[in-house]
Symmetry: C2
Subunit: 245 residues, 2 copies
């Protein structure tokens, strides 16, 4: 890693565009999460909103090209441009996280690990977690592994859950959020609660575009919002970036 | 300019962070303005959200450091990272536009010229334009010059307008949008209409965070939204980027 001036704020690099509206949401949440007295107190953020990265769900299902090399190329570009650490505004893409570690020498802050930490920290008595997540994210077991290491169980999604979730997800990615999409996402969250979830994680960056904490009768951890809050602490060196989770 | 593959889509570079919420708004509007069948059809966008760029209003008033060199450095970084053309998600910063031309060899699409074009195109019979703009933007005469070349008059802002606008603007930049900010921005728009404006331009990227077209009894051209729409046409080569306006 290049030698850094230890007193200065860190520059955040965002591997984005998966999808682009979720990347805009991350920047908005990061801005809202940054306490400032002047505009110049806000954090510098380099964003490569690169929707050309191949579809993660298709790749995990084995029906599409791997996004690993495009993610690696995007990560390298952000390091070259001056990012001090990287995040990725897509949960499912974390299945290809190792491609980032191989491509760059700056730290990567995991949205999945950070959201799992937040879930345990904010809801210590909740044992059973419902995942509002894409099929690829569920099938790669990203959150199941992270939560199980923290002593938490994940709810087996109800029948047709993956197909129903995917339908909403791709609608948001291509057409934005409608009232029907909001109602559909709320129904999926409700089904996870009915199946026994004490807490939900919005474990896909398109979910909080359509559903907010408070919309359902169980609390929801927004992985995007939480990552934004963590980035403020890391960029301002209030906390050190974890070398391992 | 580097030789480009003439058939491929162009990569957009955004000189952003002035403020960061306005940059997030631009990315959201660009995404919404892009017709797509799949996520991968969305445009690639490189964003340097750089709130460290010095305050434009202070510089124009002569009470602060010029942002020109920071804008030039940001522009150069975006060209190096692969942007094919640049935009700047801040109207007032266009007073320092020449610094971009001097720093890079890729085209710069002017939000001010594009919004002035849109105003004339969409509201051909409107002669008197009210500018919801920051003091620096008004004092640099950016829109007054662009609109006068198009045969349009701008409304002389009412007494205290600049101070009242600046108060709302800095509140949005540091604390976000509240109901009081929304009401205040609506009142300023109303005052321009009372002073004779047939049409308004949201000529500051913080304005559309607090006020939408339809909130007032005269139409409003959102310079951010319009720039997003123009970027889609330029990036997809539906229209050539103007070499001059």
């Amino acid at each position: 890693m290049a030698k850094m001036n230890e007193s200065r704020e860190l520059v955040i690099g965002v591997i984005g565009g998966m999808g682009p509206m979720a990347t805009a949401d991350f920047l908005a949440k990061l801005t809202a999460a940054t306490p400032v007295a002047t505009e110049q107190d806000h954090l510098r953020v380099l964003i490569d909103s690169n929707p050309k990265i191949p579809d993660r769900n298709h790749a995990i299902r084995g029906t599409g090209e791997s996004p690993a090399s495009a993610i690696a190329e995007t990560a390298r570009g952000l390091q070259r441009s001056g990012a001090d650490f990287l995040v990725m505004a897509c949960n499912t893409a974390h299945a290809f996280e190792s491609a980032i570690g191989d491509a760059v020498s700056i730290p990567f802050v995991s949205m999945v690990e950070e959201a799992s930490d937040a879930c345990v920290r904010r809801h210590p008595s909740a044992r059973r977690v419902g995942l509002l997540a894409a099929p690829g994210c569920l099938n790669a077991g990203l959150y199941q592994t992270a939560l199980s290491r923290r002593g938490r169980q994940t709810i087996e999604p109800p029948e047709n859950y993956e197909a129903d979730f995917a339908a909403l997800l791709y609608q948001i990615k291509t057409s934005g959020v409608s009232d029907a999409v909001r109602a559909g996402m709320k129904a999926l969250g409700g089904a996870l609660i009915a199946a026994g979830a004490d807490v939900l994680i919005a474990a896909c960056t398109e979910v909080p575009l359509a559903l907010k904490d408070g919309d359902l009768c169980a609390p929801m951890v927004d992985a995007t919002s939480n990552l934004a809050e963590r980035c403020v602490r890391y960029a301002r060196r209030i906390e050190a970036i974890p070398t391992t989770y």
